[in-house]
Structures are given as structure tokens and as C-alpha cells.
Symmetry: C2
Subunit: 419 residues, 2 copies
């Protein structure tokens, strides 16, 4: 299960829940009332139930026998969640190569290393119009066409069910394709084929992943006292009210090293915007890793400005790998497990940060596995959706990115090179 | 060269330099006056001149003929810079595997994948007492001893020149070893054998790396009007005075994807601390990547709180890789280069962020190569050192991490497991 430890928070959570019960219940009711309303983009709630898509992904995977490498072309919501899960759960049966950029040298190097006859290219864009994704896809498509007689078998498209140029292309060429449901936005799409397809190739327990996410859905509908996402949304909300502008997500797990970056997009792009009165709201999510960032960011967290809420994510169980004798180790350490060290460091950090005056709580995961990652990611989506209600913003749009897109296209059209 | 573009900063830089000339010159004079004083930890200024160490690293590398894999065990300053350079410059001649954590499952998986007879283990800790590093090293040492008759040839140690358990171990066992000079702190050590040794194995132009860093040294001693690190330190300082608590480092380069994390440690651990009057100072560095984070963080940067200074790092040249025809591409795009897209996106983002009211400037690198990365990293060290002077903090200690270390050890000694 996923648990919440607030021992060092310096706040009576039960009392705060009592005080905020009305607002929290209103947030949940407001959110759920929009479920099923077109344009409300709450389709992410249903993804964990979609076993039909899961079966289709599996069937497709079984039919592709040539793939030793999978190139996953996508950016933002079409990439960050898939990468986070791949790093944590992938078994490496097929090697996954993310292409989330347009930098010439690494694009060329990747092409040089791969054999088109052994490569599957997965192109992902909800709208089918993402400039970086389409540019990189054009390059890989050209490469496949030159390198394999049956290039169509080497491409799989994940995009809108009916609209956009990628959907059209898949239809015209008779390509394998999957859909991101219309009511699912990019940063909420990790449990759609965006994430499921690469994981099916690299080898991960997709049933367990969705099962964990269903548990998050169930917990989100429980009464307040047993409702994890309403509790954590409240803790995020209270930190914001205190003027703490930074929310740190610090995963104590090397396997989870890309989860914080996924959370950054989810949180920032959902909540960093103007509220209904035009006020700028939102907090800035900061990615962190434990114990690595004890040696990088904790100095600042301890002695710098008290502007942070710090959330640790800590696994409770793992392989019982024992520390052998070795040079320089304190005498009590050999014979203890590596997990003992990881947990001691996390708990010590929590205590040290609390003593310094930062707000801090811990999410515990029984294990770092598909079930708990499915639960964690879906939990964080619920937390974000509830926060959108509390902060009076639409957590499912992103109006602030349009200007940059338009300016980039104008610049390219005018052939305006850098001076 | 590395250039500075402040076109969208909304600030007359020349005028600000005039106003701040006294403080900036005092900062530089104060810093340089401590050079050579024991305990001032300014040895990083001399690393780029140390061609003797470079030759020793090269000779060592030429003598190791068995290595197909290099395990780099280290954390924080013993890891982040080496990884950033390896990702940007490594040619993959020897595969580098960072071990910067203590999580059981990934440790076990790495051991299972490697052949000890073909593996070199590089263990890095300035003090020789870093708990995570020593624990992981004990595991790999045990594995080498069981898997190779001549395990000593498979270990190389980088630590303090004379002190600490790793130095003692290297001496007792007659192991190959390198030194982090006494006056060089961990987060300023990337151009010592900490970074040079793995790069020598993976294949990078180390001469050019140090040559670029020497250029940064030269620029740091120039008059104010031509002094890049004094200028950027001033821009960081002014943003801090305006109450902007977050400094974003956004690299528009997939190869530079780990550079922001290295900068985060350098900036946060150097500057996030109590000043001489006991006040909490420092700004929080936020890592970002372009164009990826246009799809993740830019929404928040545009419409969320105006609490940020955003620094873009943009390459001006790269391979002329042309975008072919492909589905969904705007008609003007095929025939343009990928670099055109990258630069258009960066410039558009700079403009869009400035319009939104955030402070933003761009560092331009002629290319992403060893020379420019050496320059960039050394430049950022100068910037940080100057900021320490402006903010009245010691940029070369880290008192705030001691409590967490002590609490973790106490917990482990008491055998206090997680409940």
C-alpha cells in the first residue's frame, strides 16, 4: 500500500482535515460533477479500467517479433511518464530509446547505432501536430524507408482517436495505431498506450500497474479520513497558503529517478496559471532524489529560505542485499542491508529538514513495483485535480504555452536564424 | 566562445554594471585575496592548469586493456559533474555505469549484467568516509574478489591525497589511485580525476576540456565590461534582490541534459546558507531542459508566480542535419535543419517568458563540445564564487548537511528499522 507519514510535519493533520472538510468535500464534488462532461478532460480516471486497450497492446506486442530496439518519439506528456515507468519497471527485453528532443548530434548517433530491420518506431502526439515530434518522426521514417522493405511494420502511432495528421497518416498507410482518448490530456496519459506500449515491449507487469491505479481511484472516493489524495492536496494547499512557493518531490529510489520529472510537469502545467480572478497561482515543483540530493540540495533546504514543502517517497521493502565488510565502513554497518541505509538516510533527512523549519512529509510505498507505481502516479493525478479545485484553476488546460509555440513557428517560417 | 544575450532581460546591463562596479570589484578582490590561503578551498581555479594530472590519467588509461565497462561509484560532487560530462562528451568506448545510490534491486541488476574480468571500478570520495559510496564499494569489491584473480588491477581510487580510509586502503593494497587536491571541494572537483578519469575511458577530448576551463579563468580576470562571470553573478544578484527565489538553468541541448543537475548542487550547496548575520540567504536552482520543458514547466513560468530568473544555455552550431518530408509538417519545415528548430524554440521561449514578466537571459555556446563545456562549468564556478562574496556566505563549506549525516548514522547504529 501507499502510506502517509506526517510525524515531522509540525501540524495536526486530523484537526486540519476537520477545519477544511467543507472545502475539500466541495473540491471533490465539483471535480466529480464534471465527470463525463465533454471537454472536462477527466478521462484519466477511467484509464485504469480499460482492460480492452491493455489486451490490444499485448496482442500487438506479440505480433512484433523483429524488435530488439524501440524508439519512443514524443515530448512532455508523451514522454515523461513512459520514461519514468520504463526506468522503474522495464526488464530490458526490448531496449527503449527515448527521442524527446531535436538536437542533431544525438539524433544522428542514435540512427548510426540502430538497425532499422530490428527497430520499432513508436511516435506519440495527442494532437498529432507537435513540432519536435513530427520533425524527429520524419527523420526516423525516412531512415526506415531506406533501410527496410516493409517499413510499415516498423511504425506504430499513438495519437487522437480520429483527428490530426498522425491519425490521418496511420489510416492512409494502414499502420498499427493506438488512441489517446479524446478526454485524456497529455500529462494525464501515462496509463494509456503512451506508457503501456513501450512497457509491453521492455517487459513490465501491466496488469499490476493498472490494478494499482484502480486502487488509487478507490481511495480517492473514500471518506476524508481515509482519503490519501485529499489529505496530500490539503498539505500542498496549506503550504501554499503559508507562502511556500516550492514543492519538492524527492524519491528515495534510484529506480524512481525519473518520476520527479513526470510530477513536475503534472503539477506545474496543471496548476501554474491564472485563477478565475486573473491572479497568478501555483507552486513550483522541484525534482529531487534521495540520498543523492542530500549531497546537493539539502544544504539549501536546511539553511536557505523557508519556502519549501518537501515530500519524500520511500520504499519499505526490497531485496535483502547485505553490505559486506569493506574499507572505511563503520563497524556496525557490514551485515546490515542496503535498504537499512536507504531508509535511515530518508528518515534522518526528514527529521533534519523538519528541525530546520521546512514542511516535510513522507509517502511510503511497500515496494517499488508496477502495482505501487500505478497507484502513486494515479494518486498524484488525483492530488493535482483536487488542488486545481482548491486553487480555482482549470488543471486540464495549458493556455500559457501557446505564445511560445506561435513565436517559434513564425521565426521558422521567416527563416530567422540566430545572429 | 560563450556569449551572453540579455536582449529580453528588461534591464540596462551596462548601466547596472556601472552602479555595481564597486561591489563587484570588491567581490573579485576579496575572493582572489584568499587564493593560496589554506582552508579557503580555491584550488578549483588551478585544476585547468594541471596538465601533469591529465598525463597521469592518460597513462593509467593506456595501461588498462581489459575494461569494457567502468563502474563509477560516487555521490553528489563525486558523481554529478562526471555524469554531466560523460553524457555530453563520452564516445562510449568504455561504457560508464554510475552508482550514486544504495538501492538493492538496481545494484543487484548491475552486478548481474557485468563481467568482473572486463570491469574497472572507480570509487570516488574526497573524505573517503561517504557512507553510500563506501557501502556500494564494499559490494563491488567483494564481487571483484570473487570474480577475478587480480582484483587489484580492477580498482582505481580517487580521494584525498593523504587522508581518509580510502587513501589508506589504496596504499595498503597497492591500488592505482588519484587525488582530489586538498583545497578542492567535492562540488568544484569535476575537472580533477573525479571527472577526467571516466572521460578518459569513454573517450573525450580532455585537452580541449581543460583548455576551455582555462579560458573561463582568463575571462574571470578581465575588466568588468568583458567579464562574463561578474556579469552573470550580477544578474543573479539583482534577481535575488528583487525577491526572485528561483533560478532556472534550462539547457537547450539533449547532450547537456545532466548539466542542470550539476549546476543545482554547485549553486544550492554553495549559496543556500546563513550569512554572517545569521540570515537565511540563497536562491533555489531549478533544473530544466529545452525544448522538453516547454511542454512541462513553461506554462508555470508564464502564468504562475513571477519568482524566477531563467537562464537558457543554447548551442549555436551543430551537424547540419536536415528535416526530411514527413506527415503533418508545416510546408516550410522540410529542408530546414534540426538546429533551426532548436534555436527557434529557444528564442521564442526567451521572448515569451520575458513578455510574461519573468527575468530571462541566454548563454550561447558556439558548440556542445569539450572546449565549451569546460568553459561553461568553470564559468559557473566563478559565478558561484562571486555570488558567495556578494551574499556574504562561504561558498565552499556545507555546514547544513552534518545533522542529517549524524542522525542517519545514529539510526543505523541503533538498528532502528522503519516501522
Amino acid at each position: 500500500m501507499i502510506g502517509l507519514c506526517t510525524d515531522h510535519l509540525g501540524l495536526d493533520l486530523d484537526r486540519a482535515l476537520g477545519e477544511w472538510e467543507g472545502a475539500l468535500e466541495a473540491a471533490r464534488a465539483g471535480l466529480l460533477a464534471r465527470k463525463g462532461v465533454p471537454g472536462s478532460f477527466l478521462g484519466w480516471m477511467d484509464l485504469p479500467e480499460d482492460t480492452e486497450t491493455l489486451r490490444a497492446v499485448r496482442r500487438y506486442r506479440e505480433g512484433v517479433d523483429f524488435a530488439e530496439d524501440l524508439v519512443h518519439i514524443g515530448i512532455g506528456g508523451s514522454s515523461l511518464g513512459a520514461l519514468a515507468l520504463e526506468e522503474a519497471l522495464g526488464e530490458g527485453r526490448v531496449r527503449v530509446h527515448p527521442v524527446d528532443h531535436v538536437e542533431p548530434t544525438p539524433l544522428k548517433r542514435l540512427l548510426d547505432r540502430l538497425d532499422p530491420r530490428r527497430t520499432l518506431v513508436h511516435v506519440v502526439s495527442k494532437s498529432g501536430t507537435t513540432l519536435e515530434t513530427l520533425s524527429a518522426f520524419a527523420l526516423f521514417l525516412d531512415w526506415l524507408k531506406k533501410g527496410t522493405p516493409d517499413w510499415r511494420r516498423h511504425v506504430v502511432v499513438t495519437t487522437d482517436p480520429s483527428r490530426g495528421p498522425l491519425r490521418r497518416f496511420a489510416q492512409e498507410e494502414g499502420l498499427a495505431s493506438f488512441s489517446i482518448p479524446e478526454e485524456v490530456g497529455g500529462r494525464y496519459s501515462v496509463l494509456s498506450p503512451v506508457g503501456l506500449l513501450p512497457l509491453a515491449f521492455s517487459g513490465a507487469d501491466l496488469e499490476a500497474l493498472l490494478s494499482g491505479a484502480r486502487m488509487a481511484n478507490e481511495v480517492a472516493r473514500r471518506p476524508l479520513g481515509e482519503n490519501l489524495p485529499l489529505k496530500t492536496a490539503l498539505l500542498q494547499h496549506l503550504a501554499w497558503l503559508e507562502g511556500r512557493g516550492i514543492t519538492v518531490f524527492m524519491a528515495y529510489s534510484a529506480r524512481m529517478r525519473h518520476v520527479p520529472a513526470w510530477f513536475v510537469q503534472l503539477h506545474d502545467e496543471s496548476l501554474g496559471k491564472r485563477d478565475r480572478e486573473g491572479r497568478r497561482v501555483g507552486t513550483t515543483a522541484l525534482p529531487a532524489l534521495g540520498p543523492q540530493d542530500q549531497h546537493a540540495q539539502v544544504q539549501l533546504f536546511r539553511e536557505g529560505p523557508l519556502d519549501k514543502l518537501i515530500v519524500l517517497a520511500l520504499p519499505l521493502q526490497d531485496e535483502p542485499l547485505v553490505i559486506p565488510e569493506g574499507p572505511g565502513l563503520p563497524g556496525f554497518l557490514p551485515g546490515r542491508t542496503f535498504l537499512d541505509v536507504l531508509q535511515a538516510e530518508a528518515l534522518a533527512t526528514e527529521e533534519a529538514l523538519a528541525q530546520a523549519g521546512q514542511r516535510v512529509y513522507t509517502l511510503t510505498l511497500d515496494r517499488v513495483d508496477a502495482y505501487h507505481l500505478g497507484w502513486l502516479l494515479q494518486h498524484l493525478m488525483w492530488q493535482t485535480a483536487f488542488l486545481g479545485e482548491l486553487w480555482g484553476v482549470n488543471a486540464f488546460d495549458q493556455p500559457g504555452v501557446e505564445l511560445g509555440k506561435r513565436l517559434a513557428l513564425e521565426r521558422l517560417e521567416k527563416d530567422g536564424r540566430f545572429q
